[in-house]
Amino acid sequence: MLVSKTKRSNLHNIDWALLVIVLSICVIGIINIYSAGYAFSAVEKQIPFYIKQIQWVLLGLMAMTIMYFIDYRFIVKGAYVIYGICVAFLLLVYFFGYTMHGSQRWLSLGVFAFQPSEPMKLALILFLARYFENHKSVKPYKLRELAVPLFFVLVPFTLILKQPDLGTALILILISASVIFFLGVNWKSFIIAFSGFLLSVPVVWHFLKDYQKERLIIFFNPERDPLGAGYHIIQSMIAVGSGGLFGKGFLSGTQTQLKFLPEQQTDFVFSVFAEEWGFIGGFILIVLLMILIFWCLKITLHARDLSGTVIAFGIVALFSWQIFINIGMVLGVLPVVGIPLPFLSYGGSAMISFMAAAGLLMNINARRFILHE
């Protein structure tokens, strides 16, 4: 009975709207990456980034399909295993990973490099879904009840911070905090946790590499060091600002084409887009991302059980924080921490993880009518 209903619901409840939104953002992303790599494309020996990004999107669609067809309640059952695998990968990175741009984030899988911290975000959301499914409570959670999940948040957090990848580590904390607050937290516990957080700041500061400390300092005063660490923020703001209302046109962004922008196909894709398409383009893109978030929120609202709600809300938090921090960074209102813009930044691990997340949302949406046993 359940099986047949499941099948029916799969066929009839594909969330086409979500698929269309995600794919349009991906297409914009590919066009944008084409422009970001255009000027010096002849210099690069390897396959251009936009071609590879198309491959990542296709692989991502496969991940999305898989995550869509396996009943999410089954996935939740395996959440601890998935979490364990991801932590194991992070440990592998810690011991065997290779270093790029001064941080050890990558694991070589023969043909391509893989960044386990990206799927870790999704694994953590699944972990929390499973945990709170098992520990339901009508009353807001007290700190004592949250000690166990917080421990399991801190394990990957520490490993990723050690790489060092401040941005991704921060995202893990922000997602978990968002989910826990959404479920409800006892006020007293909140105050204690917050003081704990404040106390931990010096500890985290100690963990940070010099360049990260410098970035945080520079953030508050970028003009102090316009050619050192403040360079990124200033060049990005100049790129965005000089785009003006209508932009400089596709492939014509001087900041982009002259490579004033660092990491312009990964963390700074938005400034490439804003420079070439102007405020009009930037506005449309941000609104498109907003529609994506609200659509995901709608799915959260209609999820049929607690694990579905937690996963969906966790993904909303994941997307929102990544978008907010990335665009905030590009626009010079947040410090430079390297995290990708969902579906727009170049990168395989991130693209596949985000696509899998979208697949999970469609999964939850499709199964919202299934009666619970």
């Binding site: 002849a42 100049i238 002259l258 804003a274 941000i286 959260t300 909303v316 907010f324």
Partner: protein, 629 residues
């Protein structure tokens, strides 16, 4: 307590809805903040940011890597680098390109300097991508640009390495030349070239480009409004290219060049012991430095449209009928196939009749009764008409193929042609016509459809002279790092073996000795004092377009060309060290024209134990004295 999730999840629960409203509101605020910030930067601050982007004072400047040095086998430099001081313009978004050019021209005129800005600033010049206006300018112009930097914003002097070929034309068709990569190279994506990069365009420069070019570096500079450097913000050093040591002997190359002076032709000298190329000259040649400064359209057209095609290396790309030099192969085939023996005689009265056609011997009145030895020494055509008739085309083709004809030799050089070894099968495949008996007669004296390159000719004789080993000719001895550590060594490659009997070798080599040294020999002009020389002359009728028989006939009817003169020689007769093939186009008989040239080269070669001229002594220049840009 049953189904707590329903408490949390039921959309109807006011508490749950409340939470959603909060989340919704928070997200709305966050996105609004982003949009407000975007509006602030792109609309309110747009003008300021535009100005800052236009006057962006940070530049990435490419540092051209020094190309590897090419030397001959004795360390004589064949290709090196020189610094060129170029006037460079850095376009800004200000779009006052024309005004800047005008000003510069006025300043030049005041000093009575010639204005050869060979490049207009392109209309679509991208801001901050430098344009090279004038290359290799003199001190006066450098002074003008440097002294007037305030009036010439965006103009500055940049140092750029250019290629210097000390031997100029002598090695041009061998080494090729360098120039800026063209659009096709960039779009083909063959190698990782960037716009404005220098690439090898022909010859060794092209073949070994990936070794020679090194890797460009870059500099991050802060500049003032006049594009003058204020501060160096960082630098990636360029990696110089690898040095290339060739098998060429510069002196021999020069001797060969002098031998062909004023004529169109090709000379190649090989070491028969391993296939190393000692000299490779093709005339007419060109000035390889023309391309350094960006060749003007008119000059390029002149080169390309020259009927003598100076841009073609005739040694590998020129295809000629072998003429009588082919007789060695026909003789070898006759002996091996048992058609003739050393004492087989044919009567030559100056003509040979086959059906209704009459073929002539080059010697009016004929040679009388001739055996193989005299037939080769005096190059009797009638003798070989008879041998050819008895052999048939396919047997001749079989031996020609064994001698390495009809297929590319595999030398490390571009555009090598493979020549033609005609056979019955070849003719049916190529022309859809059956073989005619008369064609065999022409082939027997190397005159029919046969075509070979001078390199193939030399290599075939090299294989014969060394006792039967067919080598793959090679030009590159080794590749070294800039500090002369070996990087790659090239070993001789054996391509095949001539399965000839010892008697055949002995008989034929004594005949080739006779060609040069005996009374009546056609190649007596090639005798030198120091050693015994063996050789064979050839005189071949001109064939312009070998692939197409009709065009070929037309050419013959026109007959505006004289015969090609061929001579191929090796020496010493025992354990030869050098094989030389000489082809002089439209010059007449091989014995009269080509053999004396071969003699000059042989003399130069066997003089080698004596002290060398200063070019050889002046070994490699240290690379430090080349300005590093």
């Amino acid at each position: 307590m049953e189904n707590r999730f329903t408490v949390l999840n039921a959309a109807e629960t006011p508490e749950f809805r409340q939470k959603f409203k909060i989340v919704f509101a928070v997200l709305l605020i966050i996105f609004s903040l982003l949009l407000i910030r975007l509006w602030y930067l792109q609309v309110i601050k747009a003008q300021e940011m535009k100005e800052r982007s236009e006057s962006n004072s940070v530049r990435f400047r490419k540092i051209e890597a020094l190309r590897g040095v090419i030397t001959d086998r004795n360390g004589v430099v064949l290709a090196d680098n020189l610094p060129s001081f170029d006037v460079v313009y850095m376009p800004s978004a200000a779009k006052e390109h024309e005004r800047m050019l005008e000003r510069l021209q006025i300043m030049y005129r005041r000093k009575n300097l010639q204005i050869d800005l060979n490049q207009q600033i392109p209309k679509d010049a991208r801001p901050y991508l430098p344009v090279r206006l004038e290359k290799n300018v003199g001190m006066e112009k450098i002074a003008i640009v440097e002294a007037n930097s305030v009036d010439l914003p965006g103009l500055f002097i940049d140092v750029f390495p250019v290629r210097l070929y000390p031997k100029g034309e002598i090695t041009a068709s061998l080494l090729g030349y360098t120039g800026e990569v063209c659009k096709d190279d960039l779009e083909s994506g063959r190698a990782d070239y960037a716009l404005g990069d220098i690439a090898g365009k022909y010859g060794v420069e092209q073949v070994l480009d990936s070794y020679l070019r090194g890797r460009n570096g870059a500099e991050l500079l802060e500049v003032n409004v006049h594009e003058k450097e204020i501060k160096n913000l960082g630098r990636i050093d360029p990696l110089p290219g690898y040095n290339v040591i060739m098998t060429i002997d510069a002196e021999l190359q020069k001797a060969a060049w002098q031998g062909l002076a004023g004529k169109a032709g090709a000379i190649v000298a090989l070491d028969p012991r391993d296939g190393a190329v000692l000299a490779m000259v093709s005339t007419p040649s060109f000035d390889p430095h023309l391309f350094n400064l960006g060749i003007a359209g008119a000059e390029w057209n002149k080169l390309i449209n020259n009927p003598l095609s100076p841009m073609t290396n005739r040694v590998v790309s020129g295809q000629y009928p072998p003429g009588s030099t082919y007789k060695l192969i026909v003789a070898a085939a006759g002996l091996e196939e048992g058609i003739i023996n050393p004492h087989t005689k044919f009567f030559c009265d100056g003509t040979f009749t086959m059906g209704s056609r009459t073929f002539r011997c080059w010697k009016k009145g004929g040679h009388g009764h001739v055996e193989l030895h005299r037939a080769l020494v005096e190059s009797c055509d009638v003798y070989f008409y008879n041998v050819g008739r008895l052999l048939g085309p396919d047997k001749i083709a079989k031996y020609a193929t064994l001698f390495g004809l009809g297929k590319a030799s595999g030398i490390d050089f571009p555009n090598e042609k493979s020549g033609i070894v005609p056979s019955e099968q070849w003719k049916i495949a190529r022309m859809k016509q059956p073989w005619l008996p008369g064609e065999t007669i022409s082939i027997a004296i190397g005159q029919g459809y046969n075509l070979l390159t001078p390199l193939q000719l030399a290599n075939a004789y090299a294989a014969f002279s060394n006792g039967g080993t067919l080598w793959q000719p090679y030009l590159i001895q080794r590749i070294e790092t800039i500090d002369h550590k070996p990087y790659k060594e090239f070993r001789p490659v054996k391509k095949g073996v001539l399965p000839l009997n010892k008697e055949t070798f002995e008989l034929l080599s004594s005949a080739l000795w006779g060609v040069v040294n005996e009374e009546g020999g056609t190649g007596r002009a090639a005798r030198v004092l120091q050693v015994d020389v063996c050789g064979k002359t050839g005189t071949s009728q001109v064939i312009g377009l070998p692939q197409d028989p009709r065009a070929r006939r037309d050419k013959r009817i026109l007959d505006i060309h004289k015969d090609h003169a061929l001579f191929v020689a090796y020496a010493p007769a025992k354990n030869p060290e050098i094989v030389i093939a000489v082809v002089v186009e439209n010059a007449g008989g091989g014995g009269a024209v080509a053999a004396p040239i071969a003699r000059q080269i042989l003399e130069a070669y066997f003089r080698k134990d004596e002290p060398k001229d200063e070019a050889a002594i002046m070994a490699r220049r240290p690379r430090e004295d080349i300005a590093n840009p």
